[in-house]
Symmetry: C2
Subunit: 311 residues, 2 copies
């Protein structure tokens, strides 16, 4: 008895994951392929097709009623197209049509991966029951999604919550997006490493210069490593405070690899938030680590499908 | 035949305006008192009462079905209280109860003045028909309100859209709000004047150092005056781009006294917006002057009442 399943797809620059998801968030059947990220667009779609074919072989497939896609962005939910930065073969690529054709015409809901992650945290994670929430992924990039009025707010094109590319330093370093002083330019893992190295931090004998290695050094008391995480926390705090001041949220949920640094990141983030979240209606803002694990993308794609299909 | 009127109140630090508003936005009866801004809280409420009494003397009063209040913020729509920065006698002051008592128990809707302005521009002004809009007042302060999903987004406490106090310069000057590098700290009229004077601009023989005088000097070619407006435009652009990137809006509507500077403000603002609004889904963002005049506060209070009463 698994009626009304959703076919969930989580499309990223590294892998394409799929699952049949039930209404309790259970992943009943899974499939996965590496993303042929440098290949021609049709070849990338073929990999999506292989994931779908594998799911379609399941005896549960006839219960699938709809498809939910969370994709690396930017996406265009109106046009049904995607242009993931890390998949150059896909520019305004008609992913929704391609998936609809390969699933026998099931209705398809498309959102950005940050929006999907927010849907997952709102459904079963740290933002459960919240009226207003910003859910963020701090990793190689910085992404996010918004819950407003108790519901997912994907925006008309499915891209809302792109906190990584708001400027918190209008005279700051230029960002690959074309802007300047973006949150991602200061707070992403590679930028935490870059800043620590530029200021004189040196990795251990293993040569590991990842943000995780910088976090370990900070935990061991290295002042340069600590300062780089403090700067990241400050940029995240300014972005979170801006979001709360603009749309009113109760909680900011922070996940992704960089959030695994724990208090090395969260402590300076919370301190800076006191400085930036000053107005009465944002002063009670909470910050919490994400609760959903590696399946957040799939569960969120399914959640977004259920949330948005009726709108 | 003016059934279903709304009693609109526009409460600011200078004046308390009231009107009976019909469903077409007509102001059928008006009343106004200066705000006794430095007086005890009860005295300020008495001035609101005088405005209501004057309206209640109208033969149209029996058609009033509800009250809409747009108040200087912060407000707390949940608690029905207001704490306007410029009215120190009101801190968590129960304005909604006070107005309900003085209007025979009519239902009261409270929003911040920026939210009311956005409701007015969405109903009859530059944001008409838009799905997503940020409407701003750039004046002594910088305020705003949001339209999301085609409807007013006041937020749970009625304060959403407070763009004046998002930080666009995390290392910038400290702001009276307690934050740092806020849009208002860079782009408000007094800050435009302050910066021009600090950089060596001198007023004419009339001694006028207002932002309007700086705008006149910029129009006449003064480079310091021009630079001060360029800096303001840049801060506004960063804030507008952040809003669009976070929640997806189609248009930013800019009103208030400083917007009267026209192209002296709008030209650098639009240029800077190209720098900061870089992602595909925000690149088409429009900027337009506000269309509603001095009655925007009253019309917006009525519009917010109609928009929100059913929610």
């Amino acid at each position: 008895m698994h009626t009304d399943l959703v076919v969930a797809l989580d499309v990223g620059g590294t892998k394409i994951a799929g699952a049949l998801v039930d209404s309790g968030g259970g992943l009943l059947q899974r499939a996965q392929r590496p993303t042929p990220a440098r290949a021609h667009g049709e070849r990338v779609l073929a990999a999506v097709g292989e994931v779908l074919d594998e799911l379609a072989a399941s005896p549960l497939w006839p219960d699938a009623r709809a498809v939910g896609i969370g994709s690396a962005g930017p996406v265009d939910a109106k046009a049904g197209t995607v242009s993931p930065v890390n998949i150059p073969g896909w520019r305004d690529y008609p992913l929704v049509d391609g998936v609809r054709e390969r699933t026998g015409g099931l209705p398809v809901t498309l959102v950005g991966d940050g929006v999907a992650m927010a849907a997952a945290e709102h459904w079963q994670g740290a933002a459960r029951g919240r009226t207003g929430a910003l859910c963020m992924v701090v990793s190689t990039g910085v992404g996010g999604g918004l819950i407003l009025g108790g519901a997912l707010h994907p925006g008309p094109t499915g891209n809302a919550g792109h906190i990584g590319h708001i400027s918190v330093d209008l005279d700051g370093d230029s960002c690959p997006c074309g802007g300047r002083g973006c949150v991602e330019r200061i707070a992403s893992g590679p930028n935490i490493s870059r800043r620590a190295l530029a200021e004189g931090w040196r990795p251990g004998v293993d040569g590991d210069t990842s943000a995780a290695a910088v976090a370990a050094a900070a935990r061991a008391g290295d002042p340069v490593a600590t300062a780089s995480f403090e700067r990241a926390g400050r940029a995240l705090a300014a972005g979170i405070a801006a979001t709360a001041t603009l749309v009113e949220i109760e909680i900011a949920v922070v996940g992704g690899g960089v959030a695994k640094a724990g208090e090395v990141l969260f402590a300076p983030l919370r301190r800076a938030l006191e400085e930036f979240a000053t107005l009465s209606f944002v002063r009670g803002l909470e910050v919490a680590p994400a609760q959903m694990g590696t399946d957040a993308g799939l569960i969120g794609a399914a959640a977004a499908c259920w949330d948005l299909a009726g709108r």
